[in-house]
Symmetry: C3
Subunit: 354 residues, 3 copies
Amino acid sequence: MEKVFAIMVAVGVPVSVIGSLLGWPEILMFVIYCLTIVALASYMGRATESLAIVAGPRIGGLLNATFGNAVELIISIFSLQAGLNGVVLASLTGSVLGNLLLVAGMAFFVGGLKFKRQKFNVYDARHNSGLLIFAVLVAFVIPVVFSTSLTNTETLDLSVGISITLIVLYLLALFFKLVTHRGIYQDPESKPKPEIEEVEEPEWGKGKAMLILGLATVAVAYISEHLVHTFETVAESFGWSELFIGIVIVAIVGNAAEHASAVVMAFKNKMDIAVEIAFGSTLQIAMFVVPLLVIVSLFTAHSMPLVFTMPELVSMAAAVLLTIILANDGETNWFEGATLLAAYIIIGIGFFLL
Amino acid sequence: MEKVFAIMVAVGVPVSVIGSLLGWPEILMFVIYCLTIVALASYMGRATESLAIVAGPRIGGLLNATFGNAVELIISIFSLQAGLNGVVLASLTGSVLGNLLLVAGMAFFVGGLKFKRQKFNVYDARHNSGLLIFAVLVAFVIPVVFSTSLTNTETLDLSVGISITLIVLYLLALFFKLVTHRGIYQDPESKPKPEIEEVEEPEWGKGKAMLILGLATVAVAYISEHLVHTFETVAESFGWSELFIGIVIVAIVGNAAEHASAVVMAFKNKMDIAVEIAFGSTLQIAMFVVPLLVIVSLFTAHSMPLVFTMPELVSMAAAVLLTIILANDGETNWFEGATLLAAYIIIGIGFFLL
Amino acid sequence: MEKVFAIMVAVGVPVSVIGSLLGWPEILMFVIYCLTIVALASYMGRATESLAIVAGPRIGGLLNATFGNAVELIISIFSLQAGLNGVVLASLTGSVLGNLLLVAGMAFFVGGLKFKRQKFNVYDARHNSGLLIFAVLVAFVIPVVFSTSLTNTETLDLSVGISITLIVLYLLALFFKLVTHRGIYQDPESKPKPEIEEVEEPEWGKGKAMLILGLATVAVAYISEHLVHTFETVAESFGWSELFIGIVIVAIVGNAAEHASAVVMAFKNKMDIAVEIAFGSTLQIAMFVVPLLVIVSLFTAHSMPLVFTMPELVSMAAAVLLTIILANDGETNWFEGATLLAAYIIIGIGFFLL
């Protein structure tokens, strides 16, 4: 598998550059761009995993989530510049749904095929549940409901106010987790684990891992810029809406890194990391990437209010409630994974038909 | 009480047949049909209880739920044939509300009058909570929200896709409960119980119980077919909507079996069975009967998309959230029962006025 | 601080009376009324705390909530008489939001700055969660959803039916807590506590505390009547909507008592009382004050159906879900407080712009 990705990167990156310069057919390039980003994301994932082993499970999880979401952030900024505001919110919705339902679902399902019951830190689960409710059911719901009685300017003011609040609370959450309450919420049972994990060898050294991470990020940025401009043609050719491309295709491509590493971690019964990747990534999208893009959009030609469409909002709210009820007890099994995947299928069909 | 039901069946079944053949007044027949089904359902409940004692609490609960819902399935198929699609979804809504709020509410309330605190398997509670959220807040909510932006054909496609997903997940849930994770999620405290239960004598032997179950089911089917055709007249005469008949009357009649056995079980402090009846029945309606009817409807003159009305959807969603928050800790008392009953009253008034 | 309040009362009450009689400028009087009520409410809080020490934590919490909400009830009745129905529901919404998000948020935050982890009775937390879901997500949601298909008379019938159900269930909840299940749901860890609390000295004797409570209540009533009539002028002068005055200003003024005592209790690590004040007060508003006002309104010129606006309803529902997910485990920390406060800010911006 690793060899396949190595070849995909070795071929994909130069072909992407050449194809974009020579103006090859857009549908061909869309496929090449997507595959190359997936392969690059796998390198980012492996580099992050190496760094994660050095840095410990919690920071490791944060690193994973950060560099997984670099892809979404980069694609979104180029989409904003191209004036595709609807696609930006759609692809962030897709990213939230993809992380909560597809990534966590796959991790729980695959991990559960090997282990009857998998446990993870119940305090982290509850902490994440609170933030998911806050981000989706408060911060995203309020502007949709209020905007029907507000002018466009007022809606934008509300969006900016909410965005700042989201980012401040996200930073406070990091401060809480890494500083004031670091190591406070340990599960008594999971204490012996760290010793065993320390023994594990990272694939790459710290320096090499960071170099690979940096190069892959630059390559993803270059390709994303060109990927965005193929959406219109692809949408027309396949009879898909741009929304569907954003919500399913971009989100799957963008989350390939998290996806791969979360499933690998679950298969190794390291559920704390798997859950941290899926939920941490969701929270970073919802509480950092989304509000950052709202603020960034103020400096572009088309400012983007924080107003999701009803299908986007309701899908995210349903996904959050389902995930919370399944994960809040700090335990999973294959069937809980299957339930999340079933929800992803249902919502996927909905957006495909939209 | 048992003698009363014996007389009701002995009188009700022949009178139903004669009355339907001779064309007696429809309002009279509506009352006779309803009472006879209630009495028949009590026989089904007692037969199921006998089988449940032989088969153990879990399979016993499934049996209870299955034969309780045979009544709804039968009535619904005849309603579909009569083109009363709105009544079908209404009576299934009523069945979900009836099981979650009325049956569970009565069981918790009556059981709680005798016992200060009643406990049941917390793992089953959480498993059921996840499925309730999945079925109602994902699978039922998505088509309502998306359908406003879809054509009728697309909505039907979405309904069929969701229905298949629901049935597959329902079968996976059975596989999970009965095969891969059978007996895995035991409450440590409740272990000594099974021994005591084994001692209990079933009312009827296995053969007799199955015979009674079979005969009662046939009788319910016959009566249901005729019951459906009295709705219009009854609705007009009493100034009720057909919706109210579906949501309250049909649901109460259809759930009499579950109702009776759940309350009896709660009064005997067998909360595992009482909860399994109420929640298992709800899940079977939502994840099996509803999607099956959507698919069956494709072969009738009027196909039925999975689109509940807003009052139906919101009532079910509110009932699910309330039940989960009350039951998720695996403990009940009389006041939690009273809360569920109060919710049933409020929603009942709403549908009565609608 | 106590001296400041003493001066504010000594000056504020006579100035309020004189100003109201002499017809001083309304904006000036609005400020004086608000400050005086806050100071009076602090006296009510301290008197209640004294009584609470005598009566024990649970009754003490109820006392706190009762006399905190006397302010809201009094202001609301005068608003009803003035025909300001929209302001009544808005200020009750504000009171629910204020108690759940601002009061609980401040208590968790301030308490959490001093103590890493604060615990309270998890059974009480779950009991309150059930009632919050019942009141807001069932009793308040149903009439909003159903009213779109109902006539005004039917909506009022539904409102009255729901109001009676709410009050009956509220009384049953008191009966449950104080009679049938008094002391049943004790946290095993918190048993040694009561002994220590008994030692605590009340600030005032029982007689003096009751006298102060009585006098302060009368003064609040007098000032409230005049406060209500300044809303229109204030709204116009500051470019605020009357809704914003109701939802933020009135609610903050009305909840000052709960606010102060909840934060003080949290700072003393008496989280059982702090939580009882915030949640008990919310429940009393939602299950007693709101339905009582619906019924009282039938005897005024403008009857008030139990139909909140969508922003009001959705804000309360979001606040309830967020609070439940944070508080249901019986544990808090500063970050959970910060999350509640962030939600209050977001919703506050929304209502400010509305």
